[in-house]
């Protein structure tokens, strides 16, 4: 199947799959409780109809097509349809509020939008006046839209029907358009989540994603027989790589869950062979397992513990193909039959061949847990600007604290400042309409400046410490890497988010966001009564428990000669969850440090002024868009600083 992919484009791959594997599934989507299947042959037909329909409405080469909605076959087809016509799809984050979309729609001069449903149509109608170029909205799901009279609203069904008619009249049109596509043409614009400032459009050519997708498939032996569950935002580079570029490269099946809430049960039904999830999903799964084990009877609990002890000792070695003696293999095999296998099955990952995680640092215990029960969980490193394809951990050489060596076709080097520089097949064409920003991040030798600070170990594996710009200095001039500390905190199941402060200060302090589910369960077990999130977050017992977690982190830090000075001195537990709707996190759930420091300024002052309590009023946005306010006193506690000599 795999040929010279330097000359491939996505539309040409569609033709090839429709010819070579016409009856294999391209997509599966659950509708009315039943998995509906779309073969590659049907996929070609539907994409052709959509392309012709779009062209009929005036969508031409060089135009951008915005795409907004949950992962749906129809929306992936819309991407392909735009590319077939020489246009460029621009996926937007579907949970953005309307006003957040204005910038992207204007920046990409969007005329046509394909959306999933009424929710997105309503958002677009709300902002249509602010986007002068917008003139056509196409929706997939007509539910609730029958009374909408706007003449610029069309259903995909209408467009495809018109497209079929057009195709019959102009039989050569579609193939002619597809044949015009060139590997160097722009294939997609992905907008960065905007950790700093307005989102920037990242332009990639067909070649970029095609090669990254192909190489990644070869790297992990993915073929058209594999299955993936597409449940992460289509606007995110990872989904575009896994569920689009790789799926198009290898021809494997993309399964779209019924709704956001059903992802876990759909996962079990599909049993994907290839899976990506951010660390928090793996963490959530493990938390669920642990809670249920705690509830289980004595014998089951003991058996589980014994199995886990065995897995901890030999599981990863067996997975990595290292020598383990026969008896231990036998014991592991027994537990594999009785415990690990059923556990993998419950989690819906028993058919899994390769799983990846990235985005945030993953806790070593968490990572080891999955690998030890026989799941080939690996890490990769990449960003929107590099098709999420820079470093990959190869089978058998997986280290917990690195992201692996450079992937095939990629080169990395470190700048003097420690910043990671990347060059290779997946590096973007540039930022859309932003030559200034492009010039800033790409140097003359073609290296992209990632903005991440890292080190390369003696095996050539890359280890990321923090964002280069977040690495600061404490008042005494010593290194302060906030994310490193925050990650250590977040590895505790009870801590959902943490924000550390200490740049230009004498001591380090931290905000803690509790994990409501985990702590509620913990509290129930101890008969601690609470009224809700705010109440639970202020309980003395919770403070004591979180305090212990922080002491543990301090102990860990004390033995690290680079960072032993940066132990947490004082902390508080916030009475609201940090939320992307309040701009405290990005849509990809990264902490917006500067914004938080400003919004919660009084709390930081109180932390450093040595107060025991501080009153604060915080504005919040509810999910329905209304504004509200939370106010209350927040307690501040001291942590133990460990003064041992570094080992």
């Amino acid at each position: 199947m795999i040929t010279d992919f330097n000359t491939e484009t996505f539309p040409k791959m569609l033709l090839r799959h429709a010819e070579t594997i016409p009856s294999r599934m391209a997509y599966r989507e659950k509708y009315l409780g039943i998995w509906q299947e779309i073969t590659w042959a049907q996929n070609l037909e539907q994409v052709r109809a959509l392309s012709c329909g779009l062209s009929n409405l005036g969508f031409n080469r060089g135009m951008n097509l915005a795409i907004i909605g949950d992962n749906r076959p129809g929306l992936y087809q819309a991407m392909l349809a735009a590319q077939c016509l020489g246009g460029v799809p621009v996926p937007l984050y579907q949970d953005s509020v309307a006003t957040e979309m204005v910038h992207v729609l204007n920046d990409a001069a969007i005329g046509f939008v394909v959306v999933e449903d009424q929710e997105q149509v309503d958002k677009l109608l709300e902002i249509k006046d602010q986007v002068p170029t917008l003139h056509t909205i196409i929706y997939q799901d007509p539910k609730g839209l029958t009374d909408y009279v706007e003449s610029f609203l069309h259903s995909t069904h209408q467009i495809q029907t018109a497209g079929e008619v057009f195709n019959r009249e102009h039989t050569k049109f579609f193939m002619h358009e597809v044949s015009k596509s060139q590997p160097t043409d722009l294939s997609i614009i992905l907008y960065t989540s905007g950790t700093t400032g307005k989102p920037k459009g990242v332009s990639h050519s067909h070649q970029n994603f095609m090669r990254a997708g192909k190489e990644a498939c070869i790297f992990d032996n993915l073929t058209y027989k594999d299955n993936i569950l597409a449940y992460l935002p289509m606007a995110w580079v990872g989904d575009h790589l896994f569920s689009y570029a790789q799926a198009m490269a290898a021809g494997f099946t993309v399964n779209c869950p019924e709704s956001k809430e059903t992802v876990m049960s759909d996962l079990r039904e599909i049993g994907p062979t290839y899976y990506f999830a951010p660390p928090r999903v793996f963490e959530g799964l493990l938390t669920q397992v642990m809670i249920r084990i705690e509830d289980a009877g004595f014998i089951k609990r003991k058996l589980f513990q014994a199995a886990m002890n065995c897995a901890k000792k030999f599981g990863t070695q067996i997975l990595d193909g290292q020598p383990v003696n026969f008896l231990n293999r036998l014991v592991y095999g027994f537990y594999n039959l009785t415990i690990y296998g059923p556990l993998r099955n419950v989690l819906g990952i028993s058919r899994l061949r390769v799983a990846y995680t990235a985005g945030e640092a993953i806790g070593p215990d968490l990572f080891r847990f999955y690998r030890s029960i026989g799941i080939n969980l690996k890490q990769f490193y990449g960003q929107t600007e590099t098709c999420a394809y820079v470093c990959l951990q190869p089978d058998g050489h997986v280290k917990y604290d690195t992201v692996g060596p450079p992937a095939p076709g990629m080169e990395i080097k470190l700048a003097d400042s420690g910043e990671v520089l990347v060059r290779g097949i997946s590096v973007m064409q540039g930022y859309y309409n932003r030559p200034d920003a492009t010039a800033e991040s790409m140097d003359d030798e073609g290296y992209f400046h990632t903005g991440d600070a890292g080190i390369i170990d003696h095996d050539g594996h890359l280890r990321i410490i923090d964002r280069a710009k977040d690495v600061g200095k404490m008042a005494n001039g010593k290194l302060f890497a906030p994310k490193y500390i925050e990650n250590k905190l977040k590895f505790f199941p009870f801590i959902k988010e943490a924000v550390a402060f200490g740049d230009q200060r004498d001591t380090v302090t931290a905000f803690i966001n509790i994990d409501f589910e985990a702590i509620a369960n913990w509290a129930e077990r101890r008969n601690i009564s609470f009224a809700g999130y705010i109440d639970l977050a202020s309980q003395a017992d919770v403070y004591v428990m979180i305090g212990q977690c922080i002491d543990q982190v301090n102990e860990d830090l004390s033995v690290d000669d680079m960072l032993s000075h940066a132990q947490i001195d004082r902390f508080l537990i916030l009475n609201k969850e940090l939320d992307p709707d309040d701009d405290e996190l990005t849509r990809t759930r990264k902490v917006r440090r500067g914004f938080i420091a400003e919004k919660y300024g009084v709390l930081i002052d109180a932390l450093y002024a040595g107060k025991d309590e501080q009153f604060i009023e915080i504005k919040v946005k509810f999910e329905d868009g209304r504004d509200g306010q939370i106010s209350g006193n927040i307690k501040i506690k001291n942590a133990k600083i460990v003064r041992g000599s570094p080992r």
Binding site: L32, G33, I34, G144, T146, D147, E258, T262, F622, D624
Partner: protein, 258 residues
């Protein structure tokens, strides 16, 4: 609305339980495709009114016309067969059964194959089940409760249980839907969702709705016409905007503006 056909007409209905007069001489009508709300303070007789409409209570006096026919004494089963479905103020679902099974019970009146065929899962029974399951799935899709399809109802939050109840009522494909406080105990977001569903049921499927609700904002927003009851008597009837100005209604229910 004036030219719309009258679906249901109640004339001089009186209902009493022993010495307690629940409803006294009440008349009003419900027109095709409208959302007709009944409001009133606690104990005003709202739920009794619904129970009279779907045949649970039989009024001592008065006449009910349903689709221009005088209605004889009947029971709820007959009401269901005639296309009247309802939800209850205090949720009346089978707590141990899954959401799917609960909604399937709403198809009860549409299933005709006998016990034996069903037990054997054979022939017509099988086709019938598939057809009915599809209808149920359409309702599940409509009310966006796919994620709880297989969850036992007893495990669900109150707001979701209310939604499941609505689903069961919709599964019966009613032409007249009686909703008894569908939004009680819900938060703002859940209420918004429920309003959206009620409006869609009404507009998209043309179902006539009789709604009992305490949230005045909701009632005034989505009703076409409103009946106001107080101590079993009708004290107002008309468009929401007009009732807001009716002094009797204000003093009985909305509270006097000082």
């Amino acid at each position: 609305m004036s030219e719309a056909k009258t679906v249901l007409r109640l004339e001089n209905i009186s209902l009493s339980f022993g010495g307690v007069k629940a409803l006294t001489n009440i008349s009003f009508d419900v027109k095709e495709h409208e959302i007709r709300s009944i409001i009133g303070p606690n104990g005003a007789g709202k739920s009794s009114m619904l129970n009279v409409i779907n045949g649970v209570y039989h009024p001592q006096q008065g006449t009910i016309y349903f689709r221009d026919k005088v209605r004889q004494k009947m029971d709820p089963t007959q009401a269901a067969r005639q296309g009247i479905a309802r939800t209850f103020q205090n949720i009346a679902l089978f707590k141990g059964m899954t959401v799917l099974d609960n909604i399937m019970t709403g198809r009860n009146t549409k299933m005709h194959s006998n016990f034996l065929m069903n037990a054997l899962w054979w022939g017509p029974a099988r086709n019938e089940e598939i057809l009915n399951r599809r209808k149920v799935e359409e309702v599940i899709d409509f009310l966006e409760i796919q994620h709880i399809r297989k969850t036992p109802v007893g495990k669900l939050s109150y707001g979701l249980q209310k939604r499941v109840e609505l689903a069961r009522a919709l599964a019966a494909e009613p032409s007249l839907l009686l909703l008894d406080e569908p939004m009680a105990g819900m938060n703002v977001e859940e209420k918004q969702d429920m309003c959206r569903f009620i409006l869609e049921v009404n507009q998209q499927y043309g179902v006539t709705i009789v709604l009992i609700e305490h949230d005045m904002g909701v009632v005034m927003d989505i009703s076409d016409r409103v009946v106001v009851l107080d101590y079993g008597k009708k004290i107002g009837d008309g468009l929401p905007a007009d009732l807001m100005k009716n002094p009797d209604v204000i003093s009985a229910y909305l509270g006097t503006n000082h």
